[in-house]
Symmetry: C2
Subunit: 220 residues, 2 copies
DNA sequence: TATTATTTTTAGTTTTACCTAAATTTTATT
DNA sequence: AATAAAATTTAGGTAAAACTAAAAATAATA
């Protein structure tokens, strides 16, 4: 079947919201989509009619299997294009999101397969988010929140959950990017801030708020 | 200013039609767009209001300077994406048109500038059509129609004007592609067909209809 | 020139994706 | 449990881009 850009965007937003909450409600989807609850209700009916959604009025909703499949296809395209923009066209990683929002709706399957191959079948996008494969399977990495890392342990940054321009600007300042190696020197229980040492940099202190959004992994 | 995909497609079609005829009429544009004359009239009013068109009802129309500028931007994007699809993603040249039709509407200027640079600032797309530069300037190549080439002269294929799947399939059969070197051995005045010799191939005969759509150049 | 044919435009609909305002259902609170 | 608050849906409307059918303007022809 064939879906509009708008339908794909709704499905993608529902997918992201239900990752956190299991089931999604009208108001939060309206907020996420920068639209009105009434518009969401309209679209929910369409998506239900297309069997992308489990939805009973006033009861919240979540994606059907078809819906999840579509969501993963869109997420896959988005992240492959982000990878292309950063690794091939050398965009800064904090500039690529809005462009990938457009590119993710280009319909050709063959395009995505060839792009993936050209990029070398990457598993993670430039923000560290996993890229679903063509069957919708998502690669997993044993990641740990930076605020939970034991002191002195050498870890590598693998993803950042808050990807606002403000956050990415801060990380750039601290010279933290994906793949950056660092250690936690100590934790201050007063405000949850951390003293860290980024490889080849002087130690510095980051707030709990920043730490909570940074995920790392280490060889076990 | 900001334009819809539909507006961009109309502008592009008008541009192509007026290359041949100078001024364009409603019916031919409707045919080109696979739409109805009434729909064209509706859009003409919008495009005129946006100052992209010189248009008086019942009198035909052509692009304004703004319209030409927009058309060249869209053509530029289309051809750069075609180049990308063929040269980087290794698509067959007869498969890329519909995909480029979608990609040409991605809005980011920076994307196109980086893409162009990554591709090495190509001047001609895989069909031999010139790629306008960021100022809308179109590179020119001294091309000659294959049916007008003097006998025995060694020439190089530089573009193909009919880019239907059928034509491209034929050319593939004859092992003719952009950059192919060939000679005309003789012309048959009976039906205008040509005997040609493609480099490293046995001589073969092509119809006048094919020859009229193939353009070549040679070092002067 | 009068008439016919063609081209183009107008008028009125449809679909998609939004909107506001008002009604309804669910949830929370006294 | 009754009422207030919040969330959700319905009703009715708009704008973009298409459509059909009919009217109007232009071009072609007897």
């Amino acid at each position: 079947m064939n879906f509009t850009t708008s339908e794909e965007n709704y499905i993608k937003s529902i997918y992201h919201l239900q990752q956190e909450t299991g089931t999604v409600n009208t108001n939060s989807l309206a907020a996420e989509m920068h639209t009105r609850p009434a518009s969401v209700t309209d679209m929910l009916k369409k998506l239900k009619a297309k069997k992308l959604l489990q939805y009973e009025r006033y009861k919240g909703f979540k994606l059907s299997d078809n819906g999840k499949k579509l969501a993963l296809e869109v997420v896959r395209k988005h992240r492959l294009w982000e990878y292309f923009l950063v690794e091939i066209l050398e965009f800064d990683w904090d500039k690529v999101h809005p462009i990938a929002e457009e590119l993710e709706h280009i319909s050709s399957d063959e395009l995505i397969q060839r792009l993936e191959k050209f990029l070398g079948n990457p598993s993670f996008d430039p923000h560290g988010d996993p890229i679903p494969d063509r069957n919708g399977k998502i690669p997993v990495l044993n990641q740990l929140n930076l605020s939970e890392v034991p002191d002195k342990k050498a870890v590598t940054v693998s993803s950042v959950s808050n990807q606002t321009a403000q956050m990415l600007e801060m990380l750039k300042h601290y010279k933290i990017a994906l793949g950056t190696q660092l250690q936690v020197l100590q934790k201050f229980s007063f405000d949850g801030s951390l003293e860290i040492k980024v490889l080849k940099q002087s130690p510095c202190i980051i707030s709990e708020q920043v730490a909570k959004n940074v995920f790392v992994h280490y060889e076990s």
